[in-house]
């Protein structure tokens, strides 16, 4: 569908410039593409391949390895319900059944209004707050059927629009290295000697 926009190409180039090898920026750029379109389009992957100097097949191979990248449109909100050990022990399965019923879709499906995609996820690193779920990678802890319903109602009513950005946006804050502050990339082909501070003296 869409290649990266000019603004995103600029961002992409900034990201690429932080790595000794452009290929390293593949995953960040895929996130950027997903942020732009809500999912990773074929054109975006081809574009990223150009930017990082890989073949489109290699970019696709990398992208499809990772769970977070979607290759088809998904809802504005993707709700991932954790089903691994701790959450399972604390009733994740019931929560999933409830969620499927509430949203009227099976796991992996998107509601008719295109707002919510429901997915079963593996451990989300909030095991003591089980069962937990993430909405566009923002947590809800100790979820009960009631709190799930409330979450869905809030999402539908747009009450969480500020808190939860649309699918594709993970971190809303980007790292920025000021030009005058950066220490620069250290590529294997450029650097052949030990760093200056290893001269046996204190750096300060």
């Amino acid at each position: 569908m869409a290649r990266l926009t000019e603004e995103n190409v600029r961002l992409a180039q900034e990201i690429i410039s932080r790595y000794p090898k452009a290929r390293s920026a593949t995953i960040p750029l895929l996130h950027l593409a997903q942020e732009q379109d809500g999912y990773v389009t074929d054109d975006a992957m081809a574009h990223i391949a150009e930017l990082v100097g890989a073949s489109p097949a290699e970019v696709y191979g990398t992208a499809s390895f990772y769970e977070m990248f979607k290759f088809h449109p998904v809802g504005r909100y993707v709700i991932n319900i954790c089903g691994t050990m701790s959450c399972a022990l604390m009733g994740a399965e019931d929560l999933m059944h409830h969620a499927e019923e509430k949203l009227g879709v099976r796991m992996g499906g998107t509601t008719d209004d295109g707002l919510i995609t429901l997915e079963r996820a593996e451990c989300q690193a909030a095991c003591t707050e089980a069962p937990c779920l993430q909405t566009n990678y923002r947590y809800s802890f100790r979820v009960t059927p009631e709190s799930f319903d409330a979450l869905v109602d809030d999402l539908r009513a747009g009450r969480l629009a500020d808190e939860i950005p649309p699918h594709g946006v993970v971190a809303r804050v980007r790292q920025h290295i000021p030009a005058d502050r950066g220490a620069g990339v250290h590529a294997p082909e450029d650097v052949k000697s030990a760093p200056a501070w290893l001269d046996g003296k204190a750096a300060l």
């Binding site: 074929d42 992957m45 890989a54 073949s55 097949a57």
Partner: protein
């Protein structure tokens, strides 16, 4: 039946090595090289360790876990993967213990868990490493009762290759080959875990020139080749080892037939040449040999029409004309045939007193470059620097491209490329400079002035890889550039990359032109009525000579034309006598590759119809002309050849000719270079480059159904900025013209072409650029206008 890899026994013997370590394999103490992998050492010692992902010509990945062996470690026996573990002095390796067996059986069971058992319909069934090793190292029965993994059954991932993901065992051989060897990473693992599958990018085919190799190295039937698909089963194949003559690299192959029909070629691992690889064109053009369009009987022109006749009638006619032509007999071609063919036709030309012969069609370099100090493929790859004054090797000599790419990416070879546009090796070149047609010598001199370049050239062996990169300029420009280089680096050697299969053999065995009498001069003579009998020995000037006008005039002006060919070529339709020739795979003999390596080619099937080997035609004609050479068999020819060309004779009679071949260097005179002056041009002109693509209208490709559609088609390729200047969009038709002619071609904008240069691929379907090329022009300038 498996021919995919060289047996350990075929590798050259290891010389006594100061780095040798001694290890024990199954209680036997053996010598190994330091750093060598256990599996390689075991292979050499005849201890077979089962494997799927390991391939001796690619870096190990240790994915399939099938090659686990037991190694004595500090804390007792350890299981290690033998394809990743280097040998160490005193290492104790066991490959047949209970634990090893258990691991092997477990792994086979796991690999078969999701592998469909559709061996009866699988092309690999019968020669399948998974099948074989399931029998030799497997548990016999599977306990997997779950539903197997399912994917859509074979999907074509290119015009030549089918992919069946259900059968794939994810060994990374094809993807590794594409990435590491071919440099075309168009297939990749996708998805993850149990859903991992090999795939192309959506809607982008696996259009690699080397895709056939992935089929050959696939250890299961996941990748199958369209041309061989369901053609035969391994047990009804017969095979002989031979040499591919599609181009002059001379890859060792096996030719396989079933029921007297060629069905498959496979690469053979020849250490000095192809390492087991082949290009798709060489691998799949056997289809043309089976073509319905093959000539199968002699034809003689009677009242304007070519009509079938007998060999004796046809040869009578030819002999009569030769006699009456006096010395005005010309022989063009010979590079398609064997050494023996060329030798006998050289004899015939001598016998009739002809001094008009040329194995090239004005599309190579002067034969005298063979007189320069010669390099081999191996010496080029192990040199410090290679200077490329050659066409895009990926398009013309693909396996040489693979060898040089490997040397540049893995072995520290530095490539200096002088080219009119980006080529397959540009990305791997140490220096790549763009040079306009006609400016090669100046560009080389400018390069030599660069201190970094001259110190690089002084730092090790230098090999000049030289060939004809542009058919729209005089070959003298390249020769002048070679001269400039050799003047600066006198110790440099030259690897001439003349393209046609046996061009070097033909030139060395009697079909080299005499001074000033090359193919173009011969055609000019013919046009002027000075050729009484023109023999086209597998040559088709009307398609292959870059100057279309010259070719037309030459064929029309020759009093009598004899075409000896496998197909009714364009030129043959104008011939007075057409003789059907035996094709590759239909005759025995020897061939010479671009480095002068003589190796054998074999007959695997019966020649089509009444077609014969070219040498037989020459022998018959000699007899009819009363100059019988006394040869009745191929052995007679080779004996006679040995008396005239002792070096060839010695090569042909050695056993090595049936393995890796023997390098023969035929002495020749050093060329006297004279770079013709290059005319200035106006800023509206483009300087024309006519270069070859791997797939074109050549009959070997065009008559092979699965490759017939692969030719990209005629187009004019210019820099995007130039395209903008011309005012034409990508794909739009533009008028390309000069003083000679004018034609309409689709325009392609590509950043790989520098400004001011226009590239038109040669011999493609569509408008014929040869109409704009004149032999006498030093370079060709064209004007491009949007319409």
């Amino acid at each position: 039946m498996s021919t995919t890899e060289t047996d350990a026994g075929e590798m050259p013997e290891v010389p006594a090595d100061p780095n040798a370590v001694s290890i024990s394999i199954n209680g036997r103490t053996v010598q190994a090289r330091k750093g060598e992998l256990i599996i390689a050492a075991a292979d050499r010692e005849g201890e077979y360790i089962p494997r799927f992902c390991y391939h001796p010509r690619m870096s190990p990945v240790g994915m399939c876990r099938q090659c686990m062996v037991e190694v004595e470690g500090p804390r007792g026996p350890m299981m290690v993967v033998s394809c990743m573990t280097p040998v160490a002095d005193g290492q104790v390796v066991r490959t047949e213990t209970e634990q090893v067996k258990r691991a092997q059986e477990g792994m086979i069971e796991l690999l078969l868990a999701n592998h469909p058992l559709d061996c009866p319909v699988c092309d690999k069934g019968g020669e399948c490493p998974l099948q074989d090793q399931a029998f030799s190292h497997g548990p016999g029965e599977s306990r997997f009762v779950e539903e197997k993994r399912h994917y859509e059954k074979p999907i074509p991932i290119s015009d030549l290759v089918f992919l069946d993901r259900e059968r794939c065992i994810l060994c990374d051989r094809c993807t590794r080959f594409a990435r590491e060897v071919a440099g075309d990473p168009l297939i990749s693992f996708t998805q993850r875990g149990n859903n991992t599958q090999v795939m192309t990018f959506p809607d982008e085919p696996f259009a690699s020139y080397f895709s056939g190799n992935t089929v050959q190295i696939c250890p299961v039937g996941a990748l199958t080749a369209q041309p061989y698909r369901f053609k035969a089963r391994p047990w009804d194949l017969e095979q002989r080892e031979s040499t591919c003559t599609t181009c002059s690299v001379g890859c060792r192959t096996v030719v396989q037939s079933s029921r007297d029909e060629l069905v498959r070629y496979q690469g053979v691992d020849s250490d000095p040449v192809n390492w087991g690889w082949m290009c798709d064109r060489g691998r799949f053009n056997f289809q043309s040999v089976n073509s319905e369009d093959r000539l199968d009987t002699p034809l003689v022109r009677q009242s304007g029409q070519l009509a079938a006749t007998s060999w004796s009638a046809a040869l009578d006619a030819v002999a009569r004309e030769m006699r009456s032509a006096g010395g005005a007999v010309a022989v063009l071609g010979g590079a398609r045939g064997t050494n023996e063919d060329a030798f006998m036709w050289g004899l015939l030309a001598d016998a009739v007193g002809s001094n008009m012969r040329d194995a090239q069609l004005d599309d190579g370099l002067p034969a005298a470059v063979l007189g320069l100090p010669q390099a081999t493929i191996d010496s080029a790859c192990s040199a410090g620097t290679v200077v490329l004054l050659a066409p895009d090797l990926k398009e013309e000599l693909p396996v040489l491209h693979i060898r040089l790419r490997d040397a540049a990416t893995k072995r520290g070879l530095r490539i200096i490329e002088v080219s009119s546009h980006d080529t397959g090796l540009t990305a791997h070149a140490w220096r790549s400079v763009r040079c306009e047609p006609g400016a090669q010598a100046d560009t080389v001199r400018a390069l030599l002035a660069d201190p970094a370049v001259s110190s690089q050239l002084a730092s090790g062996d230098v090999v000049v890889v030289a060939g004809r990169a542009n058919l729209a300029e005089s070959a003298e420009h390249t020769v002048a550039a070679i001269d400039a280089l050799l003047a600066a680096v006198p110790a440099a050697t030259v690897l001439p990359v003349l393209r046609r299969g046996n061009v070097r053999g033909a030139l060395g065995l009697g079909l080299a032109p005499s001074a000033g009498n090359d193919a173009a001069a011969i055609l000019e003579s013919a046009a002027n009525g000075r050729v009484g009998c023109l023999v086209l020995l597998g040559a088709d000037p009307l398609s292959d000579v870059a100057d279309a006008d010259l070719a037309r005039r030459g064929i029309a002006g020759a009093r009598f034309v004899v075409a000896i060919d496998t197909f009714m070529t364009q030129s043959a339709t104008h011939a007075d006598v057409v003789l059907p020739a035996a094709a590759y795979g239909e005759k025995d003999g020897t061939t010479t590759n671009l480095e002068g390596r003589v190796s054998n080619v074999v007959q695997k099937i019966t020649p089509r119809g009444t077609s014969r080997a070219d040498w037989m035609v020459a022998a018959e004609l000699l007899h009819m002309l009363g100059k019988d050479a006394g040869v009745a068999t191929l052995a007679d020819v080779q004996k006679l050849m040995a008396t005239r060309y002792p070096a060839f004779g010695a090569a042909v009679s050695s056993a090595e000719v049936r393995r890796n071949g023997v390098v023969v260097t035929a002495p020749a005179a050093r060329p006297a270079a004279s770079a013709p002056a290059v005319a200035p041009r106006s800023s509206y002109d483009f300087r024309l480059v006519v270069s070859r693509k791997l797939y074109d209208k050549a009959l070997g490709t065009a008559k092979s159904p699965s490759m017939a559609n692969l030719a990209p088609g005629a187009a004019v390729i210019v820099n995007p900025l130039d395209a903008e200047r011309v005012g034409a969009r990508d794909g739009a038709g533009v008028r390309v013209s000069n003083a000679h002619s004018s034609l309409v071609l689709p325009l392609v904008a590509s950043a790989s072409v520098p400004r001011g240069t226009a590239i038109v691929p040669f011999n493609q379907p569509g408008a014929d650029i040869r109409e704009l090329v004149r032999r006498g022009d030093s370079v060709t300038d064209v004007r491009i206008e949007s319409i």
